[in-house]
């Protein structure tokens, strides 16, 4: 038999074998996409898929969360720490609506998540059936794209296309809403080969002319700065490696957003620390005074820019981003290079070297000496205490105890999140998972579960606040069920600390509803969930308690009682410019009416 005929027969045979139900297609597609873990919660409208999963537990591990929001954040944590898309499976109605916060979080932070939702059978859609909701309508605004699968013929294409869309270009969440009758219907399955969206083709390579111009601008800069963001981490580890090479070749200082921490190592010699509202004095002043800003995979968020009309007033700006809509959105730039960070940085390095470019050594030296003067201001300093645990010190001790270990950090949202960003130092990308854009309290614990599933042997710590942790505390039960030894390090000040801080600074110390009078006993709570509880309030005991936490082979809830009224500083107050920071030992704080209305 000729080769061609043989191949044809094989194809025909395999197609015969590939007639299956919609539910089987879902599981088959997940396997074909290399998915080994999914996070979910069953319900009436996804029972056919759960029935198929029952037979494929060896190939796809399902993690039963305790609330669908947890599934979404776990999928995010999995995705951010592994670079692979996170997958979640939930039922119709409340299953879908409970996922909304997580999907929005993934959209804001550009995290690839594929969310499969069950839907009532096609003939009941629109009838207000039990557990029916307009999932594609509701999620249209909080996903990168979404699909309602109307027929079994469309299902295989949509499944693979969803993975393509979630991962390509600026990543994001994609919802596939599958009515129950489509899950039962039989059709021909096709694999992921050559499945890409018919029109969606994000541009990867930067325009060569613009790269040339960028290199020219860089070569003539006197006070340059790299302002890097989560786009570098999303681009993959190669982008981080290239960034380090670019920084080394040019000698320029580098700062990063919250989302970009770890892309350039905190131990690197050109590192200025994080910038923005709680960024360092040196990073913010360098941004303010620079003459060339090279933004890479960052989006000029309001937490970064502060007052827009005084944002880096004397600078030229180059913006490298895969998403054209990020360009000129908040800040007008002089040169925009649309493309993937890794591709563009590689091209910049290549042209920089090929043209024999060198930064002006005299100017750069002067620039660095200015930066050193700002650095000498020690904006992250705090007064240590022997009596009470200072939150900054707690993070420092945690960092010291985990240094050199294979460690991943997640956070909730609030003061503890900023202290973690300031005092825990990240040398590698994909090690810091935090809710940046949406600012979702309750993100950290489920995200840590997702991270731990992706990295079973690593140390995973959720740096939390006592307020945030109670928002998704039920996921401790998930950690127990799957023997996930996640560590929850709660900086407990009994206050919704960031709210309290803003009330102190902006509302004259009127602490409206920011004190939690009835907190649980976290040690007993841990025990109730089958986890280990630790409480520490004496600075002298902290190191031993942290060591105990790390050594415990199961989930730990660590109640670290800290100074109740410590503020997170430095800080750019709302409506102020980068060079108008509140420093730790300054007591002048004035926020005008215009700043007060900002969030």
């Amino acid at each position: 038999m000729p080769e061609v005929a043989k191949t044809r027969m094989k194809v025909a045979e395999s197609e015969m074998a590939r007639i299956m139900t919609g539910a089987e297609m879902v599981v088959e597609a997940l396997k074909d996409q290399g998915v080994d873990v999914i996070f979910g919660y069953p319900g009436g409208a996804v029972l056919p898929i759960y029935d198929v999963l029952y037979d494929h537990q060896h190939a796809i591990r399902h993690v039963l969360v305790r609330h669908e929001q947890g599934a979404a954040h776990a999928a995010e944590g999995y995705a951010r720490s592994s670079g692979r898309p996170g997958v979640m499976l939930v039922t119709s109605g409340p299953g879908a609506t409970n996922s909304i916060t997580g999907l929005t979080d993934a959209l804001m932070d550009s995290i690839p998540v594929v969310c499969i939702t069950g839907q009532v059978p096609t003939h009941l859609i629109g009838s207000d059936a039990f557990q029916e909701c307009d999932t594609v309508g509701i999620t249209r605004h909080c996903t990168k794209h979404n699909y309602l699968v109307r027929s079994i013929e469309d299902l295989p294409r949509i499944l693979h296309e969803a993975f393509y869309v979630a991962q390509h270009g600026r990543p994001g969440p994609v919802v596939i809403d599958i009515p129950k009758d489509v899950q039962f219907a039989r059709g021909i399955y096709s694999g992921p080969q050559n499945v890409e969206h018919k029109t969606y083709r994000p541009r990867l390579e930067g325009d060569p002319g613009k790269i040339e111009l960028a290199v020219t601008m860089m070569a003539s800069a006197k006070r340059p700065i790299f302002y890097t963001g989560g786009g570098i981490i999303n681009s993959g580890p190669e982008a981080s490696r290239l960034l380090r090479e670019l920084v080394a070749s040019t000698g320029f200082p580098v700062t990063s957003t919250l989302m970009g921490l770890g892309a350039y190592p905190a131990s690197g010699e050109n590192w200025l620390g994080m910038l923005g509202m709680h960024g360092t004095f040196e990073a913010n002043n360098a941004m303010h005074d620079c003459d060339l800003m090279i933004a890479i995979g960052a989006r000029f968020d309001d937490r970064i820019t502060g007052r827009l009309d005084q944002f880096a007033p004397g600078s030229k700006k180059i913006h490298i981003d895969i998403d054209p809509s990020s360009i000129n959105k908040n800040v007008k730039v002089d040169l925009a290079v649309v493309g993937d960070c890794a591709h563009v940085i590689a091209a910049l390095i290549a042209r920089w070297k090929a043209r024999g470019c060198k930064a002006d050594p005299g100017a750069l030296k002067k620039w660095w000496s200015e930066i050193e003067a700002w650095r000498a201001r020690k904006s992250l300093a705090y007064k240590h205490s022997e009596k009470v645990i200072k939150p900054q010190w707690a993070i420092e001790r945690l960092y010291a105890a985990t240094k050199g270990r294979d460690c991943y950090i997640t956070t909730e949202v609030g003061q503890h999140q900023m202290w973690a960003a300031q005092h825990f130092h990240f040398d590698e990308p994909n090690r810091f998972m935090t809710s940046g854009g949406l600012g979702t309290m309750g993100y950290g614990l489920p995200a840590a579960i997702g991270v731990q599933m992706a990295h079973p042997k690593s140390l995973v710590v959720d740096i939390a606040g006592e307020g945030s942790i109670l928002m998704n505390i039920q996921e401790l039960s998930t950690a127990a069920q799957y023997r996930l030894p996640v560590k929850v390090f709660i900086l407990n000040n009994e206050y919704l600390g960031m709210v309290r801080q803003w009330q102190e600074l902006l509302h004259g110390g009127r602490y409206s509803e920011s004190y939690s009078e009835a907190l649980p006993d976290f040690v007993k709570l841990a025990e109730a969930f089958g986890a280990h509880g630790i409480c520490c309030s004496d600075p002298a005991d902290l190191d031993a308690a942290i060591a105990e936490m790390i050594a415990t082979p199961k989930a730990v809830l660590f109640d670290c009682r800290i100074d109740k009224t410590e503020n997170c500083l430095p800080m750019i107050p709302s409506g102020k410019a980068h060079n108008e920071m509140i420093l730790p030992d300054s007591d002048e704080v004035s926020v005008d009416a215009a700043g007060k209305i900002l969030v």
């Binding site: 594609v136 309508g137 249209r140 605004h141 794209h145 998403d323 054209p324």
Partner: protein, 183 residues
């Protein structure tokens, strides 16, 4: 031939800004369920303005629809609108016809005028002057069909208002750039 600058709607983000421009965007999209909701939702969600919107399938085999949107805002906002539209997955191409310059814009309107006696003569005279066609007539009413630039329709509507204007239905603008090149 730009659309007339309408008084700002209360939902317009443009209020209080001086350099407001009106632009006509042509958007080619996959004609799939929900695509119009995505486009309209983007405008409402991000606080952009829609002055008129028309949509119909223009290539049946490829299931392509063409949406023509007239929007207003600062030049920066209009640039953002184009980029945000391009971000939507089912959108193929966004063309700012106003930026390209020299586009032809047409709108169709049906205008019902009620009256008797000399008012009817006057209505017909105006219709003739504007090349409006009578597509329905009764003893006391006409429906005129008028195609033209939006400004011309506005003008006709204003002229027949005192005669007995009772109803207007307009399609919104369809537009295309002049010359041999497609968008």
């Amino acid at each position: 031939m730009n659309a007339p600058t309408a008084p700002p709607s209360p939902y317009s983000s443009a209020i209080g800004k001086s350099n407001i421009e009106t632009h006509t965007l042509s958007v080619l999209v996959d004609n799939e369920p929900g695509v119009l909701a995505r486009v309209v939702g983007l405008f409402s969600g991000r606080g952009y303005n829609i002055e008129s919107l028309t949509v119909a399938e223009v290539a049946h085999a490829e299931h392509l629809s063409r949406i023509t949107i007239v929007t207003s805002g600062t030049p920066e906002a209009i640039e953002q609108i184009s980029h945000q539209l391009e971000r939507l997955v089912p959108i193929h191409a966004v063309t700012d016809l106003t930026l390209r310059g020299n586009a032809v814009e047409r709108e169709l309107a049906m205008i019902k005028v009620v009256g008797t006696g000399t008012d009817r003569d006057e209505a017909l005279r105006l219709a003739e002057a504007f090349r409006a066609r009578v597509i329905d007539a009764t003893i006391e009413s006409f429906i005129f069909e008028l195609t033209g630039a939006a400004a011309k329709i506005d003008q006709f509507v204003e002229l027949v208002r005192p005669i007995g204007l009772v109803e207007v239905s307009r399609t919104g603008i369809a537009a295309m750039s002049r010359g041999k090149d497609p968008i």
